[in-house]
Subunit: 220 residues, 2 copies
DNA sequence: CCTCGTGCCTAATGGCCATTAGTACCATAA
DNA sequence: TTATGGTACTAATGGCCATTAGGCACGAGG
């Protein structure tokens, strides 16, 4: 499911400290606290003191483990996009477009349901990212959208899908799935698999019916 | 289309100053600048100095026209939700559910396309709202969702729609339309009417096909 | 026992911010 | 002309923040 990844923060540590004691739970504690607080209040409304308090430490002590507050945000946003990309590749098969769509949509929804804090931050805090990290994240996001565009274009070419605009369909489907992060609760009346299947169905239905658009013939 | 509304800020002014000179373009200038800056950088990353600069005035001068920075945010978010609610009622008819759906979805999409800054702020800055305004905005948002739920439930009861979960369908459809605010450009290759029709089609398709869900029988 | 590294602390530092106080300008209306 | 109301300005005020400096404790390894 979720690909095993080493967070950007951890990578940086190993680069600095190649004795690699690797006991550093603090680093991931900080990431975890940042995840919760940034998601709840936003990046600018969260202070280093807040993050410190969440892990039982004073604000300045955090600098024993990282270089700046911004670093936490970058770590979260970059790894989130990387996870989404890896999730897509992992879920994608070489079957029929309709089946591929169901698989990647289910994965898209699962990821958003299981990582609501991450994707919340990913979608809200792009203006809080400083360059060049913002560029990087936007490129990863484009890459993700590109994979979806290709898949849907394939299905269009093979006649499996029927829609007037690939671009609009991609936006609609992605956004639909992103929304799951805002309401899914593990103890809800629908299981995650049911929800993923439901969204896969909805995405498939979005793509397969013939449409009568006012003026027809539309860009890709 | 967009209902004529008096902003909360204006109302407050009239309440304080019932001589009602009403020439106060400054007040709406401030609102306009806040709209742009909050949408671009976020509420906490925008200073009163920034807003002042945008309208050619120093930060403290703004306090001749309002009581606090928070007031600008409240004004934006409350009027946005009120506009969406009014837009729904305005667009809703007493026809067939499928036709009603097309109308309100087109309006939902149009509003999001034409007011991207407003809805961006509306969706991102809820944590920046102080009580009791947050409660108020969340209630308005629930009210909006409730109208959609009723409509879709009607269509389900009449047999026009066929979906396993009204709640999930509402979330999916609303979120889909919200996304338009993030990519629509007036000079794009699709006209707003085409886009609205496209989304209305997609929403209709989402609701009308029969689904086979793994386990069936799901809550409302 | 000593030493060294690690990671915590408190106490700056420098900056920015929202908001308030006090003052000056200017137009309009008496 | 003189008063008045409105709006702008500059100069506090008080607070918070990210980050840095410097020092202290403690555990491991000699």
């Amino acid at each position: 499911m979720t690909p095993v990844r080493v967070s950007v923060l951890e990578e940086r540590q190993n680069a600095d400290d190649n004795s690699s004691t690797m006991k550093d739970g603090r680093r991931s504690d900080i990431r975890e606290a940042g995840l919760t607080l940034f998601a709840e209040r936003g990046y600018h409304a969260t202070s280093m003191g807040d993050i410190g308090r969440a892990i039982g430490v004073k604000g300045p002590s955090l600098y024993n483990h990282l270089k700046s507050k911004q670093e936490i945000l970058i770590d979260i946003m970059v790894t989130t996009m990387q996870d989404l990309l890896a999730g897509f590749d992992n879920a994608d098969s070489n079957g029929e477009p309709a089946e591929r769509l169901r698989e990647v949509m289910a994965e898209h929804v699962r990821y958003h349901a299981l990582h609501p804090r991450d994707v919340r931050i990913g979608n809200r805090e792009i203006p809080s990212l400083e360059e060049p990290a913002r560029e990087l994240v936007l490129n990863l996001r484009n890459e993700y959208e590109g994979k979806w565009r290709e898949l849907i274009q394939d299905g269009l070419d093979s006649g499996d899908f029927s829609i007037p605009s690939v671009r609009v369909a991609v936006y609609a489907i992605l956004e639909m799935g992103i929304g799951v992060a805002q309401w899914y609760r593990p103890d809800g009346s629908l299981s995650l698999d049911q929800i993923a299947a439901l969204y896969a169905d909805m995405a498939a239905r979005l793509l397969s019916a013939k449409v009568t658009v006012a003026d027809s013939t539309i860009e890709n």
